[in-house]
């Protein structure tokens, strides 16, 4: 209990203190997770909408597969990506292992299924009349897709928030492909693991609180943006 209280105090100290290493870690976390979610959204939102709207064979199976990948264990993702990017792996020539690039790949693999699956749910929950209206007014398939995404944007922001949560909280995969190298690939979650391992519980909790704080600011930003775009909206 003492550690929890102490953690709050230390969290404040970290934020107020302006330590370069600490802020570097926060920044890297933001960059890696932010980029992952951005890529995940660029791929997952259209893919999810397609899965919801398409009428191709195997659609339901594919959708189930995406749902299943929401539960991809990070260590497995990390391991597979490690094997791909390892020196003796097929993508070893890129020399991405133990760099932020590989971490972005790993987190994208974890965030993308969540964004895809939840976008499919969001678009699939829309009244079918939205689709018929758009089609009946001359929208092409892509225009229908964009219109449906726009109509479901409230729920799609929820999908992005979930994807971001997954990316930011994740540790197994980035640990594996990033290596938690100080000054280079150490992010908040791997730093938390390190502190926990060294018995610095209160520091681990402090970092966790900071991470949640960062997530809170990001989420609030997303929601404010979304609400601004919404015009009048009932609550």
């Amino acid at each position: 209990m003492r550690d929890i209280v102490e953690g709050f105090r230390q969290a404040w100290g970290l934020i107020a203190g302006g330590d370069a290493e600490f802020w570097g870690i926060v920044l890297l976390s933001l960059q890696v997770s932010g980029l992952s979610v951005a890529i995940g959204a660029a791929v997952g939102v259209p893919a999810g909408a397609l899965l919801a709207l398409g009428r191709f064979r195997g659609r339901q199976l594919l959708l189930n597969a995406v749902y299943t990948l929401m539960g991809l264990p990070p260590v497995v993702a990390g391991l597979v990506i490690y094997l791909l990017f390892s020196h003796s792996g097929p993508l070893g020539f890129l020399h991405w292992l133990f760099t932020p690039a590989a971490m972005v790949v790993a987190q994208t693999c974890l965030a993308a299924p969540i964004i895809t699956g939840l976008t499919a749910v969001a678009v699939g929950s829309l009244d079918d009349n939205v689709r018929l209206t758009a089609l009946g007014l001359g929208a092409s398939r892509w225009q229908v897709l964009v219109a449906m995404i726009s109509e479901a944007r409230y729920a799609i922001v929820g999908a992005l928030v979930s994807g971001l949560g997954r990316a930011m909280a994740e540790v197994g995969a980035v640990m594996m492909v990033g290596g938690n190298i100080r000054w280079e690939t150490r992010v908040m979650t791997t730093a938390i693991v390190l502190q926990t391992g060294q018995g610095n519980y209160s520091m681990a909790i402090a970092l966790g609180l900071v991470l949640l704080g960062v997530a809170f600011v990001l989420n609030t930003g997303m929601l404010v943006l979304q609400r601004a775009g919404e015009g009048v909206r009932r609550v």
């Binding site: 009244d127 009349n129 939205v130 018929l132 209206t133 758009a134 089609l135 009946g136 007014l137 001359g138 929208a139 092409s140 398939r141 225009q143 219109a147 726009s150 109509e151 944007r153 919404e230 015009g231 009048v232 909206r233």
Partner: protein, 294 residues
């Protein structure tokens, strides 16, 4: 891809008044129940067709089929001289889109897109490749909003419109496209007499091809006196209109021809005067007397 679409015999297509739309054996099945089965239906350009019939007769289903937003369970459909469905063939996605771009469908349930009223119309124009900010687009949006009396609500969020306002927005979204074929599903059901007159005038303008030329705006408040006449310039721009309505007065006021559906069957197909005075089918007569309940 486009193998299913066959050009009509050019001789016939170039003829006096080839059908704009032709259906035969068109059938729709939902959950095992046949809700629509049309033996034969042909519509010539510039007709104004009212579709009437009891609730559940299949009128909305017909409109969705004619707008090519749903695929029939069976049957043939020709539209704008192209074969869309039939004989195992089906038009490719690209061709379907081209055909749909020449028509506009207004569903029975108005679905305002979650943006402003203006944005709703701008988006629809955008789909047709018109830059929504271009002066011509702005003029058309303004004109369409005026036609349905929503000009002063242009900036309001469409989701906050009243029932009748939403319905008028849906009509405006179709009018702004100036389609060759307008498929309207009870577009005035939620409107008071004044707004009914307004929307009817807008639809008639479209039918007559008024306001199609540049700068030739629709009269926003046409009033009852001033009769609307076809475009005097001989502009072939007038549209074909197929409108579902439960308002028999409206059918009489506007239509040139009336189709009466009963339990998915087209049981009466008559010019407007005959329909009201000399209907052949007893079910039609019962319907006209307000006794037909399906």
């Amino acid at each position: 891809m486009d193998t299913g679409a066959v050009q009509r015999d050019p001789a016939e297509a170039g003829g006096g008044q080839p059908p704009l739309l032709e259906a035969s054996g068109l059938k729709m099945v939902y959950g095992g129940r046949t809700v629509l089965a049309v033996q034969r239906l042909a519509v010539r350009p510039r007709e104004f067709i009212a579709v009437v019939g009891p609730s559940g007769a299949g009128k909305s289903t017909l409109l969705r089929l004619l707008a090519l937003v749903e695929k029939p369970a069976a049957g043939e459909l020709w539209l704008f001289g192209r074969k869309v469905w039939g004989g195992g063939a089906r038009a490719g996605e690209k061709e379907l889109l081209q055909l749909r771009r020449r028509l506009a469908l207004v569903l029975q349930t108005p679905v305002p897109f979650r943006t402003s009223v203006w944005g709703n119309l701008a988006r629809v124009l955008g789909w047709h490749g018109q830059a929504p900010g271009a002066p011509e687009s702005r003029r058309r949006i303004r004109q369409a909003l005026q036609a349905v009396g929503l000009a002063d609500k242009a900036q309001q969020a469409a989701a906050s419109l009243s029932g009748g306002e939403a319905q008028r927005l849906a009509v405006a979204r179709a009018l702004v496209l100036q389609p060759q074929l307008a498929l309207l599903d009870e577009p005035t059901a939620n409107l008071d007499p004044g707004n009914v007159a307004l929307v009817e005038a807008g639809v008639r303008s479209l039918w007559l091809g008024l306001g199609r030329g540049r700068g030739q705006g629709l009269d926003p408040h046409p009033g009852g006196e001033q009769e609307l006449r076809p475009n005097p310039c001989g502009d072939p721009g007038g549209a074909t209109v197929i409108m579902v309505t439960h308002n028999l007065f409206q059918a009489r006021r506007l239509a040139t021809r009336v189709l009466f559906f009963w339990d998915g069957q087209l049981v009466e197909d008559q010019p407007v005067d005959q329909f009201f005075t000399a209907a052949r089918d007893p079910r039609t007569q019962a319907f006209l007397q307000g006794k037909a309940v399906f």
